[in-house]
């Protein structure tokens, strides 16, 4: 029990002994500690809080009650902030976090090197897709951009698409287009190439096509940049996380985002939720070729390793990841979810290419960033 009198006496003593400055510093520090302490009481006191910075497309997974419970059973409370994968590698203050969970292997490898992490964890992956609407599919089929692929699924022919973008084709210039005569360029909506992994994956796809193979030399970089740079620059403002444009696709619809680059998992997740956000007429195209986004966790502090190990090894979390549409390291989980919810996605995606090396990708992204 502390009486006010003692208290004032103590404070006075501090001032006398060490000066006002110290008192202020102490007070600020203690208030901070008190505020933090108080906040922690909001949850269960026994859990260890682990903080991560993640690609936004995994936000729903980490926010899910079942996922939180699964972590809690292992003594963890995982708190996450979303950020673009390149932001994670460049501008984010990583000291605030126990782990980083970008959405591609190259970004993770770079982080691992930069932070000297002993290992990484790759619990799941997802191919890049283009989400669109039936009237757009019809328009683009007539243009030869959409065609039947090798499996039962339809593909988005990137080479033909690049022919249209090369001449700055606008939607209202497509013949017999009454469904979407918008006075804007025919472009896939992506995220910001300066921040986000999905945009980097899109660059991997389009640069492969423009070059006729993986870009691996400065000459090839110089050759493809004018072709692929405009795919981003002409969109103008782009959001920094893949969640944004996909939400637009779902809520604002065709008017805002007739074609949106997404992770397959984002679409599957919505179908599995059965929340009627995927309406009739919404459809998936697989770019030919496409790339796989390998979600890779990089531990920054020992607590981060625990999350990585659980995501890779815990069957419950594996099954949950599949319900969020991720293709799990153990393919059974994903297959089961697809069958159960009758999701129209191929069991295997063919025509998958590898992204360029981190350095090449980074140099191309830098070159595009300079043009903004």
């Amino acid at each position: 029990m502390i009486r006010i009198g003692d208290l004032l006496h103590e404070v006075a003593e501090v001032k006398r002994l060490s000066g006002i400055a110290l008192a202020v510093v102490l007070l600020v520090g203690v208030v901070f500690a008190v505020v933090r302490g108080r906040s922690d009481e909001a949850g269960s006191p026994d859990l260890e809080t682990v903080r991560g910075v993640i690609g936004s497309e995994k936000l729903a997974f980490f926010a899910d009650r079942r996922v939180k419970d699964a972590f809690a059973r292992h003594g963890l409370r995982v708190e996450v902030d979303p950020a673009g994968s390149r932001q994670i590698a460049t501008s984010v203050d990583l000291d605030r976090y126990d782990f980083a969970f970008p959405s591609s292997a190259p970004a993770a490898e770079q982080l691992q090197r930069a932070r000297g992490a002993a290992r990484t964890y790759a619990p799941f992956s997802s191919p890049m897709v283009v989400a669109t609407f039936d009237p757009i599919v019809e328009l683009l089929t007539a243009q030869g951009v959409v065609r039947q692929g090798p499996g039962r699924y339809r593909v988005f022919d990137v080479a033909r698409y690049l022919e249209l973008t090369a001449v700055g084709t606008r939607w209202d210039q497509l013949p017999a287009n009454t469904d979407y005569p918008a006075r804007k360029n025919l472009l896939v909506t992506t995220t910001d190439p300066r921040d986000s992994n999905s945009a980097a994956m899109y660059l991997a796809i389009t640069s492969f096509v423009a070059n006729g193979g993986v870009v691996s030399s400065p000459d090839a970089e110089a050759k493809v940049l004018p072709v692929v740079g405009k795919l981003f620059l002409e969109q103008g403002y782009t959001q920094s996380s893949t969640d944004g444009p996909f939400e637009d696709y779902l809520s604002a619809g065709m008017g805002k985002t007739p074609l949106v680059l997404a992770y397959e998992a984002q679409f599957v997740d919505r179908v599995v939720r059965g929340d009627s956000t995927i309406r009739p007429g919404m459809t998936l195209l697989y770019p030919a070729p496409t790339v796989l986004s390998k979600h890779t966790l990089v531990p920054l502090k020992p607590a981060g390793d625990k999350v990585g190990e659980l995501l890779t090894g815990d069957p419950e979390l594996g099954e949950l990841a599949a319900t969020f549409g991720f293709r799990t390291a153990d393919p059974r989980y994903f297959r089961q979810v697809v069958e159960e919810h009758a999701v129209a996605v191929p069991d295997t995606v063919v025509d998958v290419v590898e992204p360029p090396s981190y350095e090449t990708l980074e140099r191309m992204l830098e070159a595009i960033a300079k043009q903004y």
Binding site: L17, L27, V30, V35, A42, R183, E234, D248, A252, T257
Partner: protein
Amino acid sequence: MIRRVLVGVLAAALLAGCSSDPATPARPVGDPRPGVLRVLAGSELADLRPVLDEAAKATGVTVELSFTGTLDGAESVANGQAEAGFDALWFSSNRYLELLPDAAKRLGTPTRVMSSPVVLGLPTSKVEELGWSGRRVGWAEIAEAAGRKAFTYGMTDPSTSNSGFSALVGVASALAGSGSALDAAAIASVAPRLKDFFAAQTLSAGSSGWLSEAYQRRARGEDPGPEVDGLVNYESVLLSLNASGLLPEPLTLVYPNDGVVTADYPLTLLTSAGSDARGVHERLSEYLRSPDVQRRISEVTGRRPANPQVALGDRFAVRDLVELPFPGTGAAVDGLVTAYFDQLRRPSRTLYVLDTSGSMEGDRIDGLRQAVIGLTGADTSLSGRFSRFHGREQVTLLPFSSSPREPLRFSVTGDAELGQIRSAAEGLEATGGTAIYSSLRRGYDVLRAQAADDPDRFTSIVLMTDGENTSGDAFPAFAAFHSGLDPAMKGVPVFPVLFGESANDEMRQVAAMSGGKVFDARGRTLAEAFKEIRGYQ
């Protein structure tokens, strides 16, 4: 010893924490508290209060909103000040914030709550007269009609209000017509057609709310200014105006078929937020996005639901809107706003009637000098850069004491004139009595002479005085003079600044009779008030 000291300080801190958290300039809504989300917000969010009160009952989460302008808000996020006092942000859009790297990196989870496109509202009869009823028109046709003054409209200042900003971006992107995002070259190429569009803008305002009120007053003939046909504003504001029943004729909403710019109101956590605020944000987001609450939000605010599970209500006549591309860089946005002020919009004629009587001596006259100097480019904040005197602007300083002094006239073309205004402001000295109304009358003579040569300008008067009228005409004489003015002069809005011991009632009457607005500088600096007035000039 150290331990005892720490215990004492700790107890003091605990006691402080248990009492009501005192608000400070850095923390206008207090310290972090369990169950409270402290939100830095755009003023448009005020209409969500009933929903937030219901949210508090349903979820136990209290939302404390503190309002600020888009640019000031963006600046405080970028320089880290926002983190010190807030857990989250809630503006009409995060687009501008994301163009500032220092702001973008502090943005955490966004929850989009609702949306509203910026469109044109015109009286139904006007839409028929223009031949636009029953068909969709594009921005080019709208700009062409505006260029020949087939209609007039009011719009907010793009540097202080998001609806004006969105309209500017929308019309510029659409007219550029390349289909891709704007850059400096594209802006230059469409400048003539943009000038056409802005030629019909006859009313400007620093806030959406005041614009809408002034528009209603003019439509009902309660304001002396010229009638304004329509408004460029959020769909939600226009729908609410129609629903209010206060307009003599309902507005028809014109949705340009080549696209619009839409506000999407993301409730965005700051990455600095503590664990409790994170939990609270998640709980609140879930509540706000639930289908029933989404329908309620749409009903209360006239905005569109963000949750794709919720169907659009019937009053949203046009459902699938094309979204125009938004510029990809801060430089392009700044370039567009600068071009708007310096080249595109109708230029301003701005008269400052300034009290330099003896009572202004000391801090007050110095504050006045700084207020004027701030508008010459000395204020380098984000918002300050756009509130400086603009290219083509006619600025007149009319200092007065016992009688009006010689008016100091400037035509701004560049830094040279800004320097002259700065020197003139530095030369203001406080001495003598206070002849408010004789000096204000003199101001009208100055404006009449200027208008004779060049009538087509946004014209307004700022009246700053710190006391009662002590010499020259009394207020009744001025009121009689004002009622006898010709319509053009009568409609010049006067913006009185309440300061010191100014006669507030008379100042309010001057604002009312001229269709102006009173600005209060008693709790802040004159510089802040002068800067706010820029949005209305």
